[in-house]
Chain length 144, copies 4
């Protein structure tokens, strides 16, 4: 396997950038970037009334948002804060009904090209590797 | 082509059911069921601060939610209010950056089986057939 | 809706190009381009021992190939024979078990950008609008 | 994480079953089941004129077939040879142009329910972990 490229942003830099550029994600409160690594990122979605459904399960749109932001963060950490990447495709499978509580999104980039990045995201409860949902998504990367 | 089955719920019945069973969708305010037809449904997502991004475009999670609910409504109208269907897969392509404003979700069911329903949803601005996003999703239908 | 762009290749030109550049598709025998239109194409997959499964149903890979080539042809007719486009994503839902016989692939482009094209393909028996499968796919278009 | 269930079929039993029931897959020649494990399977697609494109790269339909059969084998080994499972959805991302040669399909089941199984498949060259394609698919499992 080819050597994995290292991220060019630290965890603190990613959190600062998101807080500044994407206030709607509410980084540090509703969504927390916990780790960035080589071609990877781990985010935590904090349970709140806004992302829970009656019955206490996390809503589909909240899981979509977690997967989408996790993929964005993994790309951002790798290529730096200049690029304005946009989601072009997201495919998500809902596997189990998640219980109430925080949800972890573990993203692994499958491809990081000049124009296109593809990654998969496993959504699971903290401390439980069995995914409640799994997503694969693509971002278009503008010319740099 | 085989004859299309008619829906067994009226528009008013669908709206009543959603308002009662899914208060989080906020039917009648943030999302409005505008039509139910044979194997089809049309919903309107009302623009609001909650579903807009800086720059005035509708957020990805809000588009996901519109597609997901449009598919649910098309199934519900066809099989009636008893079934508790759950999303198992959603694949969404983001095609154009939507301007601020309401968004229409037009769902057409491709399959309505005993255990599985599949449909496509075109997301477009009112009065503009060019889609800003397009989704295909599946629901699991529990035994009746 | 914005005016639909007209294709810049005729049906004969598309068939000639495919026969010359993609001999493995076996255009004119196993796969026939029947129509090209504005942002659309119709292909026919001819039933043969190679694409049938025991029981007489068309194989999944043959349906994938029909969807993939139909999308490619719709793009090709629109942008001309120079571009070397490659599939980047294909999402396919299998809806009904197809009977033995030819299969039609009707493609409609949802987006034709400078770098990315997205289209949907309905796969159905000749004369029957009910799809046996439905695909949505993306092609990357190289700089021209 | 919950304990992973063990497969109930051996590698030899899987190969025998496929050779008997699915002669069109040509198991042992064009496709070889190399391993079955807990919720997993590894298959090898043997390069041949039939699955190569001009230029020597493996065709999209051949990669689709490898992903589809790898997912089927992972399910089969886990639930036994009685079930007649059918593909309901396959989402495949093409990441890199594969060189000529054999291709490995590594499947990992994400969910194995009573009615639905979901798995992901990484397609890569032997000895190279970087995937050339990645697929996520679903099978419907009939009542047993």
């Amino acid at each position: 396997m080819t050597a994995q490229p290292m991220p060019c942003m630290t965890l603190a830099e990613v959190n600062d950038f998101l807080a500044r550029e994407f206030p709607q994600i509410d980084v540090g409160r509703s969504m927390i970037v916990q780790e960035v690594g080589s071609m990877s990122a781990r985010l935590r979605l904090v349970a709140s009334d806004q992302n829970l459904r009656p019955g206490g399960t996390i809503s589909g749109p909240a899981m979509f948002a977690l997967a989408d932001v996790a993929l964005y963060v993994a790309i951002l950490a790798q290529i730096g804060p200049v690029a304005l990447a946009v989601t072009i495709n997201m495919n998500i499978n809902f596997l189990r009904r998640p219980l109430a509580g925080d949800l972890i999104g573990d993203c692994r980039l499958l491809k990081l090209g000049k124009r296109l990045a593809v990654g998969e995201v496993s959504l699971h409860l903290p401390g439980d590797a069995d995914p409640v949902a799994h997503a694969v998504g693509s971002y278009s990367i503008p010319p740099r």
